[in-house]
Every structure is written in C-alpha cells, then in structure tokens.
C-alpha cells in the first residue's frame, strides 16, 4: 500500500483558523443563510411532534444502553450479518481500514469506485489513499461532489458544501464537467449532477458507503439519504463495502422507529428524508452479490472508559448542534480543522485522538447550551466540553512548560487563596491596595495586565469595593444592628447606572 497524501486539515488551533474565516464575508454569509434555513425548518417539524421529548428520552436511552453493552451487540451484529451473507472486517485504526478496503477493491481489479457520503471515510482519508494507489473514487452525494470537484473540504456533515452558494457551485461544475452553458438555478445544477453520475452508476462495479445504523438482532444496515445516490450505490454495483464506526449499532430492528423520526427532523428539517434503505447481507437477485462491513474503532473504544464523556458516542450525526451553535454560525466548519466540526466535533475530535489533537476545540464554545437543547439523543455537550477542558489542563500540568506557565501558576495560586478564608481575606485586602494602579479615572478597571488583558478587551470591570462582603458581615455580627440598606452593594449600583448613562 502506497503512502497517502497529507490530510487537508492543518494543526492550527481554533482561534487561529477562525481568524481567517471571520475575515471571509462570503463564507459567513453562506453559512449564516444555510444554518438559518435549516434551523427554521427543524424547529417547525420538531414542534409538530407532541412526543418529541419522549422520543429524545428513548433515543438517548437506547444509544446509552447499546454503548454500555457494545461488545455484546457488536458480536451479535457480526453473527447475524455473516449469517445473512455479509462479511465482517475489523479495523483498529485508519491505516488498517484503508488496507482492508484497498485489498477488497484490488481483489476485484476495480480502477474506480462510487461512494456515498460517509464521514468515516473522511476520517480515515480513504479518498487520498485510494488515489495514491491508482483507484479513482467518485463521490455521488451532490454536496460531496461539489467538494470533490472543487478540491475543497467539507464544512458540515449533513450538508458538506454548505459554505458554497449556487454561483460558486455553478462555476465548479462548468469547469469540471465541461459544461460552459450550464444554468445557475439549483435545478440546473442537480440535473447536471444526475447526468454526470448516471453513467458511473451503471458502469462502476464497486461501491463504498458508510452507515447510519447497524441492527444487532438481525444484522441489518440502515442508510438515510435524500437524492437516491445512496440507493444507486447500494443496489447497482456487484460489490458493496460499508465502513462503519463501532458505535453505530442498535439492539433491535424496531429501535429504528425512534431514530427514523428524530434524525430526519433534526438533520434537514424534514418529516422524513426522501430515501431510507435497510438491508441484511446479500439477497439473491436484488443488490450486490458481495457485501462487506468494515467495523472501525480508530480511537472510539477508549472513549467508553470515561463515564462522563462516553455519551459523545451516542451521536447519530444529525448536525443539529452545528446549526444551533452561535460559534459555528460565525466561523463555519473549517475553523475546527477537523472532519467533525461544530459542538459535537469539539468533543469528538480531541477524544478520538486521546486529547493529543484538537486540544483548542473544547474551548471553542460559549457553553450556552443550545447544542444540548436540540440534540435528539440528549448528549450534554456543555458538560463534556467542561470535562475535556479539565483534561487539557491536567495534561498540560504534566509538562514542564505547562507546570511553569502563567496560567497554571495563576490558577494554582487562585486555588490556594480560595481554599482558606483568612487567605482569601488577606488577598482581598492586598487587592484593594494593589488595584489602584489599574483603576482608571472613571472608577472602572479598563485594562487588566498580561494574560488577563483578554477579559477587559470588550468589558470594563468594577474595582473591588472598599469594604468586602466578608468585612461587612463580620462588622454586622459584632454590632448586630446594621440595617440591610447600608450594605456596601448599594453604592456600587449607583456607579453602574452612572457609567451606563
């Protein structure tokens, strides 16, 4: 197997990458428009279901249960899929998955494959690996086709080309499909894709897909899609290879009744997406003669060990959290420098890499909780974000530069002070004296020094009051008659009003 080209994702931190994207007004307009449209549609069709919260509860419980017994359900899926004529392969990491898929394709001497949009293939860099080995993958999802032909990278995992508008798509198609007269309406563009790909569906004999769900009880695989490109890839070729993360398994067939309600409504704001395909193994006279499932670990199993962040793997990739996130709204997906962007990406990416990559992502959030509110499987993303921030800090404390860094020293000092009443009181008194150098003429702190300066970039702080609450309380205890009206906060309020005016 030849070495593949480098990943398109750089190792820039979120703030670095976001800075560039915030300067791109075209991308920001496109992202804002698309996310606003999806969110409005999502809210409308979710609002229609009086039992939405019960569906979320059931979805979360089923996914959590499946993860808790993942070894059992995976073994059950393997047994039942094999019995139905499928072949199961296990891949510990990206390299192993790439090798398995390449060997399967080479065994059939195929030079081209057709693909349904799959995040896992993006995760393992499958296209780059196939191309390095002389095999041309053709993306068939309209958005993935736009990305592939435009040599771009996905920015959203339901609508990967969400950052492109119709004019930009038209330019890509005109150039890459040699259609100089192509019209600019979405219908023209879809029709061009139909003609471009139909020939490939009818000719190419190997397809690669992902999967939305695996069913343990009967070995079924379920794929949810819109365009029919999925159905083409699942039924016309002789060989189908599905690359699926190990976490995707559901216990029973009827569990789909929950997720086929919550997924379409959350993902594209539709009551049901145009097509769902469910099949088990191979079926004589219908679909591929050979069916392979590659079960991919690639950093997932260790996540199960952490009771607080295991819920990350409940994700069904609807991307509702991206559309709801005020940070994603501003930056779009590329700022996350990861296959999985947005709030779920911010918790999934660093964990898939044992917290060695994407370490700035747990901070790429205001913790507003919009992601948790829309999540159809109730992943408490803010809770996991905070948990992972803690892990980043713990990791840093293990290095010398981290230990001696200003942040660590500052935080350790704060922890020391807050741990004891007399220390805190002493610190407050020292602060009252020391703050004199930073308090401006208007009575506010407008600029804090060093690493604290970021905090005062967009806000002024009130100085520590002359009398702290503790001092006031102590005095009150002594005299037992201080009326509430003289509490030290009243003078502060006047000052705030004056400042605001």
């Amino acid at each position: 197997m030849k070495e593949q080209a480098h990943s398109p994702w750089s190792n820039r931190s979120f703030p670095e990458a976001a800075k560039d994207l915030l300067a791109d007004s075209q991308i920001r307009r496109n992202v804002r428009h698309a996310t606003n449209v999806i969110q409005a549609k999502r809210n409308r069709v979710v609002g229609e279901l009086p039992d939405w919260e019960q569906l979320r509860d059931a979805g979360a419980a089923i996914r959590a249960h499946a993860l808790k017994h993942l070894d059992h359900y995976l073994a059950q899926f393997e047994e039942n899929c094999t019995r139905a004529g499928g072949h199961i392969h296990w891949a510990r990491d990206a390299a192993e998955a790439n090798r398995i898929i390449l060997e399967l394709i080479q065994r059939h001497a195929a030079k081209e494959v057709i693909k349904i949009k799959t995040m896992t293939s993006e995760e393992i860099g499958l296209n780059r690996n196939l191309q390095a080995n002389g095999i041309q993958p053709h993306e068939t999802d309209l958005a993935e086709l736009i990305i592939q032909l435009g040599r771009d990278k996905p920015s959203h995992f339901v609508v990967p080309a969400l950052h492109k508008n119709r004019q930009q798509v038209r330019e890509i198609f005109q150039r890459e499909m040699h259609l100089p007269d192509l019209g600019g309406q979405p219908e023209d563009l879809a029709s061009a894709a139909r003609t471009y790909l139909r020939e490939k569906y009818l000719r190419i004999k190997v397809a690669v897909s992902g999967a939305n769900f695996l069913v343990a009880e009967n070995g079924a695989v379920c794929i949810v899609e819109s365009e029919g490109n999925g159905r083409m890839c699942l039924t016309l070729p002789d060989v189908l290879i599905s690359l699926v993360g190990i976490e995707k398994v559901l216990p029973r067939y009827r569990d789909l009744e929950v997720f086929l309600q919550t997924l379409p409504r959350s993902a594209t704001g539709e009551r049901m997406n145009p097509y769902n395909s469910i099949w088990t193994g191979v079926h004589a006279g219908d679909g591929p003669k050979e069916f392979h499932v590659v079960l991919l670990d690639n950093g997932r199993s260790p996540i199960l060990a952490d009771d607080e962040s295991r819920q990350t793997l409940q994700c069904i990739r609807c991307a509702a959290c991206l559309n709801a996130c005020p940070v994603y709204h501003q930056t779009g997906g590329h700022a996350y420098e990861s296959v999985y962007p947005g709030p779920i990406g911010a918790i999934l990416t660093p964990q898939l890499h044992s917290m060695h990559e994407g370490r700035s992502l747990p901070y790429a959030s205001s913790l507003c909780g919009a992601c948790y509110e829309v999540c159809p499987v109730k992943i408490n993303i803010p809770e996991v974000l905070i948990h992972l921030r803690g892990k980043v800090v713990q990791q840093d404390q293990k290095t010398l530069s981290g230990k001696l860094g200003l942040w660590n020293i500052g935080m350790q000092a704060a922890a020391f002070l807050f741990a004891d009443a007399s220390r805190l009181s002493l610190a407050q008194h020292l602060g009252q004296i020391g703050q004199k150098v930073v308090v401006s003429k208007n009575g506010f702190i407008e600029h804090l020094p060093l690493m604290l300066s970021g905090w005062t970039q967009t806000r002024d702080l009130r100085p520590l009051p002359a009398q702290s609450f503790r001092d006031w309380w102590e005095q009150r205890e002594k005299t037992q008659q201080t009326p509430i009206a003289t509490a030290p906060t009243s003078s502060d309020k006047t000052q705030e009003k004056k400042h605001a005016g």
Binding site: L162, N165, R271
Partner: protein, 219 residues
C-alpha cells in the same frame, strides 16, 4: 491467527476493558435492561380513517407527488388514465403484480428479465407497496410480490405506486411493527420524488431516483 481475528479480539477486548465489563456476557440481564428502557413516545395512531388518508395525501402533495383516489375495481382504468396523462407507455412491472392493474394499450415489461441498462431505457415503473406512513408521507417497499427488487423502483425516472387504504398507518412505530415480521427483506422507505437540499438548503426535486411520482390510493 489471521489479521482480522487479531483486530477483532483487540477491539472487543479494548471495549470490554473500557467498559470494565465482567467476563462472560449475561444476556438475560441485558435483555431485561433493554426491556426497561423508556418508550413513552406515541406508538399507536389516533386518527379516524378519513382524516388519516387526507393527511397522507396532504404530505405527498407537499412533496410534489401526484395523488389520485380510486376504488379496487377501477385500478386498471385509473392506471391507464394516469399513464396516458403522463405520456408514458413502456412501463416496467415486478413479478406478482395483479393482472387487472394492467390496462391494454401499454407496453408493460416484466422487470425480472432486465439489467439496469435496460431499466434505464424504460419510461416508468408500476408497483404496489408493503405499508405507508401518513404522518411522514412515506411509502415502504420490500422485495416482495408486486414490488420487486430495489433497482426496479430506482432507475426509471417515473414511479406509479398503488397504495391500499388499509396499508396506510398513522405513525412510524406502527409501520415498524408491521415490517418487523419480514425485516430481513431489502426495504426502502421513499417520501416523495428524489430530492436534495444541498445547494443553499432549497429542496430541489429530482436528483438520482425517480423524479416523478404518482400515488394511486385505493379506498
């Protein structure tokens, strides 16, 4: 030991370690835990039959499908009328389609004789279905009599689907309850003609699946 076996054992043991799972699987305990999962969502429909069919019709029309109603004895003549209006004559049909659905004057071709290339040359396909969901406007096809293999309803550009009122259920869970018995059959849910929203989130009809859909509702 082959590579795949090594990888399998490594992944399963990594999962068991991470879960701190005891050796040996207690399937009875897992089953009872599964049975106790909360399922308080709506499972049974509550609508009366007329309202149910109206909702189903409304949903399909919203997807831009044509919807027509007829009685069981008039299926053949309605099929003739709809196909004539659409100007489609060479129509693929699956095995097991009732002969009385097939009016004279059309070129109905049994699909089991064709490959995909020939299907691509036909002007449409006529099938029945297994079940339908009113709440979502979805129709479910399985590889069974009068429905055929999956490619049959995928490659032609036009689909005329006959749905009986008794096949229309209100909720998604009701549909799964009915599908459960034949869950191993290749199964396709379709909701309207093929569509995408990949360009600026506008729903555009017609990408790779049939771009035109008519539903004949038999009441």
């Amino acid at each position: 030991m082959p590579d795949s076996q090594v990888a399998r054992d490594a992944i399963l043991s990594s999962i068991r370690t991470a879960l701190r799972a005891p050796a040996g699987v207690d399937t009875a305990a897992i089953a009872s835990e599964y049975a106790a999962l909360p399922r308080l969502y709506k499972r049974e429909g509550t609508m009366d039959p007329a309202a149910l069919l109206d909702l189903f019709t409304h949903r399909l029309v919203e997807y831009d499908a044509g919807v027509y109603r007829t009685s069981a004895e008039n299926i053949g003549s309605e099929v003739a009328r709809i196909l004539s209006e659409r100007g489609r004559r060479r129509i693929a049909i699956p095995d097991g389609l009732p002969p009385e659905w097939l009016p004279d004057g059309f070129d109905f071709q049994r699909a089991s004789r064709f490959g995909e290339h020939q299907l691509d040359q036909l002007e449409g396909v006529l099938t029945g279905c297994t079940v339908a969901c009113a709440e979502t406007g979805s129709i479910v096809l399985q590889n069974a009599a009068a429905q055929g293999p999956r490619s049959l309803t995928l490659v032609p550009d036009y689909h005329l689907c006959v749905v009986f009122a008794a096949q229309v259920l209100e909720t998604v869970p009701e549909c799964f309850a009915r599908l459960d018995a034949d869950a191993a059959l290749p199964t396709t849910f379709f909701s309207g003609p093929s569509a995408t929203a990949d360009i600026e989130m506008t729903r555009i009809k017609g990408v790779h699946g049939p771009r035109f859909l008519d539903v004949l509702l038999v009441v």
